[in-house]
């Protein structure tokens, strides 16, 4: 309450004494009248004394309260003034939610929005009194201990405020406002305000749900009283967005590659979004390991339009590659001009293809199509390095030099070779059996038994041949395991594998062995491709041949990617998507038996951190979780040496939605904030009008007027309740003493009218 108004209020409040004075004056105006006897009066006075006193006091209080309310209404008291009058200690508690998301880096008329926001915060701080409390909430960036702490001391606030900068994260303003409400709800200050200083991007308010209306019975329907009170705290939204400068953003990069291996062409499709107000023409450059791989043509975009450009390139060598799509030139926000991604390109994988014997005519060789699939060209850059061996070579060859050994139409190996193969598999090798005329099921089963069941995925049964006489000349592949990482991309479209015809195959009892069936035939779902993990390696059996005698599969399009992907999968070089948004944790699970206990993490800053892995529910092995991802760029993770695990890298980018210029509608926000009062400050450079409005608060005169009216009605009711009958009698019967009997008198005297006659019972 301002000084001129307060005495006025006190002066007007003195009117509350009027009823008391009137009461005292009226006490002296009693008429003096004679009466026949006071016996009934004494009893009546005694009986009504207590009630009358209460009624007198009640009436007096009601009248006094009405006058006090009138006085308060006349003095135009405001909510904030009233709160300040009633409050203790700090007069105000202010929570400032400062949006430092990536969009706040956008420059408006040459000045970044975040600088404008900082200016607004400084204005708020200047407006606060020395005892007022303030808390700062940031939407992104590294956490501060002082975050959300409501204190009268500005030290912690200023330390955090001076260090904070625009982050690469997305803002969740709804969550921060909720945190601010909770912090303010705990404060005893009478005046509480939440300032949200932001560019009012629409997606930042996605978490703001409309508060359910309170039920009529007054219950809070699950809301606690504290929550309901917290929702009454007004929110001031300071809009820092102005006319933005031209801005374009790279929204995403899609990678397509048949296999992520060196030399194999890769397509990277870059999507660019014109987030600015005017048309733009931009170029996109692609960098791999800091070397420019290409530049797009000029991409002309209208406001709000999106353009894509596909870069075709190949990796010259295997290994982990760091890639970046980059917009050429400057615009309003530099953060969304770059997009990082990584690719783990495989090294050449040593593969052995074992055939019964070498044929002079290559085409007649059993492994001809297999060699064509795994070694399509004699390029030194091709990822797979195949070696063709004969069955005899197996006895002398060093099997550990090969990641995968394809055994094509081999007679059952001798016992020593079988034992050698078993040890190879147990040690982490992979044997891929391919059937043919030389494969005798009984001999293979005997071999497997000698190897303690560690060489075949499943026992073999008989060889089946499609016979026209039986109404079938072939089988189709009807099922591929879509959960298998190598096969999943090949499941669609269906004709890709269903067009393959199988004329002859060896039946497998996969169910009995507990093997995984990766492919089945159409008749009764007979297994065609089965796999079983043994030790650290695995054995796979293709029930049909690799030449055209048993199947036309080698002639089909699927044959090459099937075998290559299986090879990559078995060799452990399947490409994994390793991308994340700034601020979200990086999770690296290990499923190898030799889980690393420590992982060295190198963030974009280059500082090396060594972190411990830990077991987490839902993961079979150790898991590394890294949360300090506030910078965009590459995060390299190197498992400790000797574990066999490869180095990986994550690309961390700005949330592409931060480039979206769509703003939240004020009315929509008001609706979702209801019943919270929302004030929009459109001029962040000068918040004086907002402060003035907050200080003025809501004028309460209307409420006081209603309260007075209700009080007066109540007073009238109480007053009439206390003495209604005399007035009625007087009005109906005229002055007392006239020989007219009012309604009430008649009813009262009904009995005596009868008694004025002779009592009927009095008989002698």
């Amino acid at each position: 309450m301002t000084p001129p108004e307060f005495p006025l209020f006190l002066l007007a409040a003195l009117a509350a004494a009027i009823p008391v004075i009137l009461h005292m004056i009226s006490r002296q105006r009693a008429k003096h009248l004679p009466f026949s006897t006071l016996r009934f009066l004494r009893v009546s006075v005694e009986k009504t004394r207590r009630r009358r006193r209460i009624q007198d006091v009640l009436l007096m209080l009601l009248r006094a309260a009405a006058l006090v309310l009138i006085a308060m209404g006349l003095s135009e008291i405001k909510v904030t003034q009233l709160s300040a009058l009633l409050g203790r200690g700090a007069a105000s508690a202010v929570a400032i939610v400062l949006d430092n998301s990536a969009s706040m880096a956008l420059a408006d008329k040459g000045r970044p929005r975040f600088e404008t926001a900082r200016g607004a915060v400084n204005q708020i701080l200047r407006e606060l009194g020395p005892n007022d409390q303030a808390a700062l909430f940031l939407t992104g960036g590294p956490p501060f201990d002082e975050q959300g702490r409501l204190e009268a001391s500005r030290d912690g606030f200023l330390r955090m405020f001076n260090q904070c900068a625009v982050s690469n994260e997305r803002a969740d303003l709804a969550m921060r406002v909720e945190q601010a409400r909770k912090a303010l709800a705990a404060s005893g200050a009478p005046n509480k305000v939440i300032y949200v200083i932001t560019d009012v991007q629409k997606h930042c308010w996605d978490g703001l749900k409309k508060t359910p209306e309170e039920p009529a019975d007054g219950s809070t329907d699950g809301q606690t009283q504290e929550e309901a009170k917290a929702r009454k705290i007004p929110v001031v939204i300071v809009d820092c967005a102005r006319e933005p400068e031209p801005n374009a953003a790279i929204q995403k990069v899609d990678l397509e590659a048949a296999v992520p291996v060196a030399g194999v062409p890769v397509k990277a499709t870059v999507e660019v979004f014109n987030a600015g107000p005017g048309a733009q023409q931009r170029l996109v450059e692609l960098y791999v390991d800091d070397k420019q791989k290409g530049t797009s043509p000029v991409l002309a975009m209208e406001p709000g339009a999106r353009k894509t450009h596909a870069f075709q390139f190949s990796f010259e060598s295997g290994g982990l590659h760091r890639c970046e799509a980059r917009l050429v030139g400057q615009d309003g926000s530099p953060l969304d001009d770059r997009r990082f991604f990584t690719m783990e390109v495989n090294q050449r994988i040593p593969v052995a293809i074992v055939t019964p014997h070498r044929h002079e005519i290559p085409y007649l060789d059993e492994s001809f199509y297999l060699q064509q699939a795994l070694m399509p060209a004699n390029s030194p850059n091709w990822a797979i390095r195949g070696s063709v061996l004969t069955a005899k070579d197996l006895a002398t060859a060093k099997l550990q030099d090969y990641a995968v050994i394809y055994c094509v139409n081999l007679p059952a190996p001798e016992a020593d070779v079988a034992e050698k193969l078993r040890q190879y598999v147990e040690g982490g090798g992979h044997v891929f059996w391919i059937c043919g005329e030389n494969v005798q099921p009984d001999a293979y089963n005997a071999m497997d038994q000698k190897a303690q069941g560690r060489l075949l995925p499943a026992p073999l049964r008989e060889v089946r041949t499609a016979k026209a006489a039986e109404g079938r000349d072939s089988w189709h592949i009807r099922y591929l395991d879509e959960k298998h990482r190598a096969l999943a991309p090949l499941v669609k479209p269906d004709p890709l594998y269903q067009s393959a015809l199988i004329y002859k195959y060896v039946r497998m009892d996969a169910k009995a062995a507990g093997a995984s069936v990766l492919a089945r035939l159409d008749e009764a779902g007979e297994p065609l491709l089965a796999q079983r993990k043994i030790g650290r390696g695995s054995v796979i059996m293709l029930g049909t041949g690799a030449h055209v005698g048993w199947t036309n599969l080698p002639l089909k399009t699927i044959f090459l990617p099937l075998l290559v992907r299986m090879t990559f999968e078995l060799a452990g070089t399947e490409q994994a998507e390793r991308m994340a948004l700034a601020g979200s944790p990086l999770v690296l699970p290990f499923d190898d038996e030799r889980n690393p206990l420590r992982v060295a993490v190198v963030p974009p800053s280059g500082t090396l951190y060594e972190l411990k892995t830990k077991a987490e529910p839902g993961h079979p092995g150790q898991v590394l979780t890294y949360t300090d991802t506030y910078d965009v760029g590459f995060y390299t993770m190197r498992p400790s040496a000797g574990t066999g695990a490869n180095q990986v890298a994550f690309a961390v980018n700005v949330d592409p939605s931060e480039a979206d210029p769509t703003k939240a509608e004020p009315e929509d926000l008001r609706g979702r904030f209801a019943p919270t009062d929302v004030l929009f400050a459109d001029n962040p450079e000068d918040l004086s009008d907002t402060f003035k409005m907050l200080h003025e608060g809501t004028n309460l005169w209307g409420y006081f007027l209603w309260a007075v009216l209700i009080l007066l009605v109540f007073e009238t009711f109480v007053s009439n309740w206390l003495s209604p009958k005399a007035a009625e009698d007087q009005q109906q019967n005229g002055p007392p003493g006239m020989r007219r009997m009012g309604t009430r008198s008649r009813s009262r005297l009904g009995n005596y009218s009868k008694t004025s006659e002779v009592s009927k019972t009095s008989k002698v």
Partner: protein, 299 residues
């Protein structure tokens, strides 16, 4: 008659309204001359009472020959004697009887009118009327007489009556009950402002002495309805005690108290076979009396 008769409390209009009515005793009364009322004494009059065996000396004119023919025994027919009635009017002249809300009739004046007209009726039907006035003690005691001269004296005494001091009705009535030896009709005109139990005991005393009793309970209408509105400081007409009250706040309780007070007397009188008549001064006394007498005569 106030002008014509020369008596203040005897109005011709009121007399005209009640002249054809008679106050007849319900029970027997012991009078000295023949009249309207049944006598306890048996004689040889009009109304047959009973048979009695003939004894020597009886007048043979009263022998019942029919009984002689049937029973061959001598019986004398006896008849009820009708005699006059002794009426003693007891008028309360205490201070409270001097109250009037509107200033027209005090309760005492109302009671005086009632006394006058009752006396007139009694005298006209050859009944003996007496008047006793009292407050804390007996102020006037005129024994019952039938003569016009006595009536004239009663009227003069009535005009001289002024409200007296405090009330002691019960004690006075006990004294009077002991004084009246012959059965008579006692008419009590009072506001009955005494302890109801004590007063009812006094009335029982009359009944015990085989007197018939009629109670005219005279109250001002304001005493029943309590029509006061503004703050009032009342002073008691008898004790001059003062009390300040807010009538609106106590009215309900007051009226309830008065209702109980009246009801106590009404019920008590009914139980004791005493006629109880509530006479509020707003009802004309002649109207009230004629209605009462008409009702009484029908019973």
């Amino acid at each position: 008659m106030s002008r014509d008769s020369g008596y203040r409390y005897l109005e011709p209009a009121a007399l005209a309204r009640v002249k054809n009515l008679a106050l007849v005793a319900r029970g027997v009364v012991e009078g000295s001359i023949s009249g309207l009322h049944a006598s306890p004494y048996k004689g040889f009059s009009v109304e047959f009472a009973e048979h009695r065996e003939y004894t020597a000396g009886d007048d043979p004119r009263h022998l019942d020959y029919k009984m002689l023919a049937r029973t061959e025994r001598l019986y004398i027919k006896q008849y009820e004697e009708e005699t006059n009635m002794r009426v003693q009017i007891l008028l309360d002249t205490s201070g409270s009887m001097g109250y009037s809300y509107d200033g027209r009739f005090t309760k005492l004046q109302y009671g005086s009118y009632l006394t006058a007209i009752l006396s007139y009726l009694m005298t006209r039907q050859q009944d003996a009327v007496g008047l006793t006035t009292f407050d804390t003690e007996i102020r006037l005691d005129m024994p019952a007489r039938t003569s016009p001269r006595h009536f004239n004296e009663m009227m003069r005494q009535l005009e001289a009556i002024e409200p007296g001091q405090q009330t002691g009705i019960a004690e006075t009535l006990h004294k009077l009950a002991n004084r009246f030896n012959r059965r008579c009709l006692i008419v009590l005109v009072s506001d009955l402002y005494d302890e109801p139990d004590e007063l009812m005991r006094a009335l029982h005393h009359f009944r015990h002495r085989r007197h018939e009793v009629i109670v005219f309970h005279v109250l001002d209408k304001a005493e029943i309805d309590f029509p006061f509105r503004a703050l009032v400081a009342f002073h008691d007409l008898e004790t001059n005690e003062r009390i300040q009250v807010d009538p609106a706040s106590i009215r309900d309780v007051y009226v309830e108290q008065v209702e109980q007070f009246i009801e106590t007397y009404r019920r008590g009188c009914a139980e004791s076979h005493i006629d109880y008549v509530l006479a509020d001064t707003s009802t004309p006394y002649d109207f009230m009396l004629s209605r009462y007498l008409a009702t009484r005569n029908r019973l």
